[in-house]
C-alpha cells in the first residue's frame, strides 16, 4: 500500500451556541468530535452516516472551506490547516470538492465556459488560448463537448449539470477530490452514468476521492474503504473488498441492514428512536441508548477505534483486539 495522501488527526469541529444566561458555560454542537483516519493515494474512501453525523463537515474541513476547532489535516505529510493564506491558495489546486446540488453550486448568470475558466484565471493561467484548451479538454473528459461552452446552467439537465460540477473540480488537475453527495439528487439511470464517470476518471487521472454519501448501496459499490460516522465520531472503518466478516459495529450492522434492497435477503435490525441531540451527546459510547447489545460499561466509558483485523477498525467495547463475539 502506498503512503497516505491525506491524513486526519483528532479533527474536531464545535459550533458554539449563543449564551442564554450571563454566567452559563457555552454550549457547543459537537459536529465532528475527534476523528482520525487516512486515505491512500488512488483510494476511494467512503464516508457514510445519517444526516447530522458530521460527514459533510469533515469533507469541508479537509479542503479548508470550514475551519476546524482543533486537530490536524496533513496532505502528503505536510500539515495544511496551519498554512498561511497564499500557500493554502496554491494548494487548493490539488484539493477540490464537488457539491451535492449542481443547480445551486453553479452560478446561473454565467456560461459553462466562463464557469470552467474562472478557476484557471484565479490560479494564474495567463494565456487565454491555453485556458480555452484546458477547458475543452476537461469538458471532453466528463463526456460533454465544445457546444456546451456557450450554454447556461438552466439549459442543462441534472446529470449534465453534475458533469459540469465535476469538470469545475477537474480543470485545475487536482490530486484529491471531496465528492459530497454528488449523485444523491439524480435519477437511477443518470446516477449510474455519473458513477461510471467518477470511476473512469479515478483510473485515468489517478485521483483520490473522499466519497461522502448517505446511500449505502452507492458507497459500497464505489469505495475501497468505508468509514461510518455516528454523532461526530467514527465508529468503524473497514475494507469493503477484503473484509470477510463485513461490518461489526452494532450501529453499522443496523445501518446496513436497513438498506432497502431489491433482493430482500438481508436480516433486519430495527433501531429504536432517533439520533440523540449533538449538544448533549450521551456519556460513554454515543450509540449506547439505541444499541441492542449495550452493557453497563457502554454508558460509562467511551470506546476508541481499535484494530480488530487488517484494514478493519471498530470503536466498540464488545470488540477487543482480534476478538469477534457473534
Amino acid at each position: 500500500m502506498s503512503e497516505p495522501l491525506i491524513r486526519v488527526e483528532e479533527l474536531t469541529k464545535h459550533y458554539y451556541l449563543p449564551k442564554t444566561k450571563l454566567l452559563e458555560k457555552r454550549n457547543a454542537v459537537r459536529a465532528v468530535d475527534g476523528i482520525s483516519f487516512d486515505i491512500a493515494e488512488g483510494e476511494i474512501f467512503g464516508l457514510v452516516g445519517e444526516s447530522g453525523c458530521g460527514k459533510s463537515t469533515t469533507g469541508q474541513m479537509i479542503v479548508q472551506l470550514v475551519k476546524e476547532t482543533h486537530g490536524g489535516i496533513y496532505y502528503r505529510d505536510r500539515q495544511i490547516n496551519a498554512l498561511p493564506a497564499n500557500e493554502m491558495k496554491a494548494l487548493r489546486r490539488e484539493l477540490q470538492i464537488v457539491f451535492q446540488d449542481p443547480s445551486s453550486s453553479l452560478n446561473p448568470k454565467k456560461t459553462i465556459g466562463w464557469l470552467l475558466e474562472e478557476p484557471l484565471v484565479i490560479h494564474g493561467v495567463a494565456d487565454r488560448a491555453k485556458r480555452r484548451e484546458i477547458v475543452l479538454k476537461t469538458l471532453e473528459q466528463v463526456g460533454l463537448g465544445a457546444d456546451y461552452l456557450k450554454r447556461y446552467p438552466h439549459e442543462l439537465s441534472g446529470g449534465q449539470k453534475q458533469r459540469v460540477g465535476i469538470a469545475a473540480a477537474l480543470v485545475l488537475k487536482p490530486k484529491f477530490i471531496v465528492i459530497d453527495e454528488a449523485v444523491s439528487a439524480l435519477d437511477v439511470s443518470v446516477q449510474s452514468q455519473i458513477l461510471n464517470l467518477l470511476k473512469e476518471l479515478r483510473d485515468k487521472l489517478r485521483l483520490t476521492y473522499l466519497f461522502i454519501s448517505h446511500d449505502l448501496n452507492v458507497v459500497q459499490y464505489l469505495s475501497d474503504r468505508v468509514g461510518v460516522m455516528y454523532l461526530g465520531k467514527l465508529v468503524e472503518i473497514f475494507d469493503v473488498s477484503t473484509s470477510a466478516v463485513g461490518p461489526l459495529h452494532p450501529y453499522t450492522k443496523a445501518l446496513f441492514s436497513a438498506i432497502p434492497d431489491v433482493k430482500g435477503t438481508r436480516e433486519r435490525v430495527l433501531l429504536k428512536g432517533d439520533v440523540p441531540n449533538p449538544i448533549h451527546p450521551p456519556d460513554g459510547c454515543a450509540f449506547h441508548p439505541r444499541c441492542p447489545l449495550a452493557v453497563d460499561r457502554c454508558s460509562q466509558e467511551r470506546p476508541g477505534l481499535q484494530k480488530v483485523a487488517p484494514r478493519h477498525e471498530v470503536s466498540c467495547h464488545l470488540f477487543e483486539e482480534g476478538d469477534f463475539p457473534s
Binding site: E50, D187, V188, Q191, S192, Q220, L222, P260, D261
Partner: protein, 327 residues
C-alpha cells in the same frame, strides 16, 4: 378475490402551457383492490406524482383530465365538483407527502392538526377529536403523546413528523392511503421504521395503499404489486417478486441493471443512454424507443398497447404478444 377499490380507466391528463396541450399521463389504466398495497415506480418526470394528485383531485391549475375516469369505491369522481372531492378526501382517500416539514402547518400544534382532520370530516366534538388524535398518535408508535400533542412541528424530528402525517392521514380510517415518496427525505434507519409502520397499519386497519417511490428497494419492502411508469405511460405492471426476478419491459430491466450494489464492485454499471424525454419533446411511438437497446422499426411509429399476459403481468412493449416474448 377482494373487491376493486380504486379503478382508473384510460385516463389522460394534460398540461396546458402557452395555449398548447402537452399530454403528461397517457392511457392510464389500473386498479387497486381493497387492502392491497400497490407501488408506482419511475424516474422524475414519468408521471407518478401526477397520478396520485389526479386521484386526490389536487391537480395544479395548468393540468386537467382530458379523457377517461377515476372511480373510488364504486363511485365515479368527476373533476368539476369541489364538494364531492372534499367529502372524498380524508374519508375515502388520504395522502402523505414526501416532506413532512412543508406538509405540516408550522403555526399550529401538531396534535391539533391531527384532531382538525377528524373535526372536519367526522361528526365529532372537539373533545372526542382530541381523544381520537391521541389514540392515533399512540398507534403510530409515538411516546409521551400528551406532551407531543401541544408541540409545534419544528420541535420534532423528521421521523416523528412523518409519523404525525401518517396519524393524520389515517384518523378518519380512509379506504385508500396514497403515500408519495414518504421516506425519501428520511435517513435509512428511520426509513426502515416508517416502512415497518406502514406495513403494520395496512395489516391492522385494512387501508389499501398506493405507494409512490423512485426506489425499487423501498417498493419491494412494502408492496405486493408494482406499476412501472415511463414518460406518462404504464410500461409494466406485475407482482413485485415477478418484476424483480423477471422484468419484461426493457426499461424495467435497465433500471434494475443500473442499480449500484456491493456485488457489482469493480464492474462498470449498466447505463441507459440519454434521459427521460421532457414533456415538450414527446412524440408518437413507444415512449422508451429512443433509449431502448432493443427498439426496432415499429417502436418509433406505433405506441404499443398495454398487453395482459396470462399471469396478470401487464407489459407495454412490441416485443411481447399476450405476455410472451416474440422474435
Amino acid at each position: 378475490m377482494a373487491n376493486t377499490l380504486l379503478a382508473i380507466d384510460e385516463l389522460d391528463v394534460a398540461f396546458t402551457i402557452g395555449g398548447k396541450q402537452y399530454p403528461a399521463l397517457r392511457q392510464l389504466s389500473f386498479e387497486v383492490r381493497e387492502k392491497e398495497r400497490v407501488g408506482i415506480v419511475g424516474e422524475s418526470g414519468c408521471g407518478k406524482s401526477l397520478t396520485s394528485l389526479s386521484v386526490m383531485g389536487l391537480l395544479p391549475e395548468s393540468a386537467a383530465i382530458t379523457r377517461g375516469q377515476i372511480s373510488l369505491a364504486g363511485k365515479t369522481l368527476s373533476a368539476g365538483l369541489r364538494e364531492e372531492w372534499h367529502s372524498t378526501r380524508g374519508r375515502q382517500v388520504a395522502m402523505i407527502f414526501q416532506d413532512p416539514m412543508t406538509a405540516l402547518n408550522p403555526l399550529m400544534p401538531v396534535g391539533k392538526q391531527i384532531a382538525e382532520m377528524a373535526l372536519t370530516h367526522l361528526a365529532v366534538t372537539r373533545k372526542e377529536a382530541k381523544q381520537m388524535a391521541l389514540e392515533m398518535m399512540a398507534k403510530v408508535g409515538l411516546s409521551r403523546i400528551e406532551q407531543l400533542y401541544g408541540e409545534y412541528p419544528h420541535r420534532l424530528s423528521g421521523g416523528m413528523m412523518q409519523r404525525m402525517m401518517i396519524a393524520m392521514a389515517l384518523i378518519c380510517q380512509p379506504k385508500l392511503l396514497i403515500a408519495d415518496e414518504p421516506t425519501t427525505a428520511l435517513d435509512v434507519t428511520i426509513q426502515a421504521q416508517i416502512l415497518a409502520l406502514l406495513r403494520e397499519m395496512n395489516r391492522s386497519t385494512g387501508t389499501a395503499m398506493l405507494f409512490i417511490s423512485h426506489d425499487l428497494g423501498v417498493i419491494r419492502e412494502v408492496c405486493e404489486r408494482v406499476i412501472v411508469m415511463y414518460a406518462g405511460f404504464i410500461v409494466e405492471d406485475a407482482p413485485v417478486q415477478d418484476i424483480l426476478e423477471n422484468p419484461k419491459h426493457p426499461y424495467t430491466a435497465a433500471l434494475l441493471q443500473a442499480l449500484p450494489s456491493v456485488e457489482k464492485r469493480g464492474q462498470a454499471l449498466y447505463t441507459i443512454p440519454g434521459r427521460v424525454p421532457p414533456l415538450t419533446e414527446r412524440g408518437g411511438g413507444c415512449p422508451f424507443a429512443g433509449r431502448c437497446p432493443r427498439a426496432f422499426g415499429i417502436c418509433h411509429t406505433i405506441t404499443p398497447e398495454l398487453d395482459t399476459g396470462m399471469d396478470g403481468h401487464r407489459v407495454r412493449c412490441h416485443l411481447y404478444v399476450e405476455g410472451r416474448l416474440c422474435g
